[in-house]
Symmetry: D2
Subunit: 142 residues, 4 copies
């Protein structure tokens, strides 16, 4: 499995802060989702197109550890890599960097679900092919 890391930059929105003056903890999970989209783009595919091909990747487990501050207008870098692959599920890991320092780490587990049947299914071959792609040989989709 190729653990290539994809990086994506996200500027923190005012509406993502709370009265403590930091990014509200739930919003990191929105950023993880953005990172997953970028990870797939790095392999020449979009999550949208995977759904259109009948496979959804709903989150079945989500985790984050917050060690540092993230504030309004910060330009955080979210690093993502595929960490594990099972019969019908995959795990992504994340690091959020702010001003060059890792401020948050996390992971998400996803099942491969048939959109039609709304049931977990083994990772289909076409999805596996995306997961196994070497991003260096694909142009990042816009």
């Amino acid at each position: 499995m190729i653990e290539a890391v994809t990086e994506t930059t996200i500027r923190v929105r005012y509406g993502e802060t709370d009265q403590m003056g930091h990014a509200y903890y739930a919003n990191y999970f929105y950023w993880f989702e953005v990172a997953r989209g970028a990870w797939l783009r790095d392999r020449g595919v979009t999550y949208k197109s995977i759904e259109e091909m009948g496979i959804m990747l709903p989150v079945v487990e989500a985790h984050a550890e917050y060690r540092g501050e993230v504030k309004y207008d910060d330009d955080v870098v979210v690093r993502i890599w595929l960490a594990e692959k099972r019969r019908a599920s995959i795990q992504f890991k994340y690091e959020v960097l702010n001003h060059g320092k890792v401020v948050t780490t996390g992971y998400t587990w996803h099942v491969t679900m048939s959109r039609e049947k709304r049931k977990a299914v083994s990772i289909p071959i076409f999805v596996n092919e995306f997961l196994e792609r070497d991003p260096t040989v694909y142009e990042r989709l816009h």
Copy 2:
């Protein structure tokens, strides 16, 4: 048309505030949505069931004027009433009260859209019947 007002109480979440210490302006539109749900419940129906019957009420115009402060943990009252009804659209008006004072006013326009055709349609008779209901003769749905 019966302009009966429905009131619903919403406690402001921490994640709805921003670093200014107020509820972020976009969140009022979530509260307006909650109020629309309560308005329909007052007439013995849910928005969910209307969608299941094939009609969606997407927002085509949204407006809010913010005059006072709303902070974390405030228990705001959202007042809503049906203000206008046209062939294929309706308007709701809103007032948000905090500690008894009107702090925000707003309105939304919705079209009656066929879920199947994804097109605006004249207000169906069954929807109109809900809109014309006198809430005092219906028990508010939980």
Copy 3:
């Protein structure tokens, strides 16, 4: 330590769903926050007042496992209890029930932070007193 459970009911907002037709995974963390507020209210105190007394409880770890469906308009019950207490941090655990079944579990870790110094501090005596309260002898704050 009294592991009394506080239950709070939350109706899922339309804006909390995503195009998969479920509540978006990040929103559960908003609900956990609502539950924390209710837990404190059950002990006669508000999180707001704790912050005003100079102590913040920022989240340093957040976790959720999603096993079942939560949809628009569902009236989910969030159960919360204090699971662990350390020198300068506490852990809450959560269960989300939908139609009587546990559909999601999770936990959050919080540090006691001085608002002034923006640093972790040992749990102050007045905070510990709240944490140790037996909710059955307090009237739930509105």
Copy 4:
């Protein structure tokens, strides 16, 4: 007054959609905020630094008209320009384009508020200087 338009591109997040399959109406107001940040950057300044200089620009009125569809993964372009300037308030106007077509228009009114006094104040000279800047002579801040 220079009505120069600033454009900023935003990719629609999964969590910004709702079960209707469109971007939820409240989220456009987050995008308007992102556009305001970009507008200021085009003039060599950030909203963050304006707040740090003691002036906040809270929204006192917000409006949007939704005419077309915006879906997950769409790359919308938000156009923003300063439309009006009064003694203590300013108005921005917005257009959201999707696949080259205007799908939403809107505006927001902001007051210049002293962060210290939490009161509206006349537009300070230093803020006015930013507002009057010709963006073509400034390098867009990253």
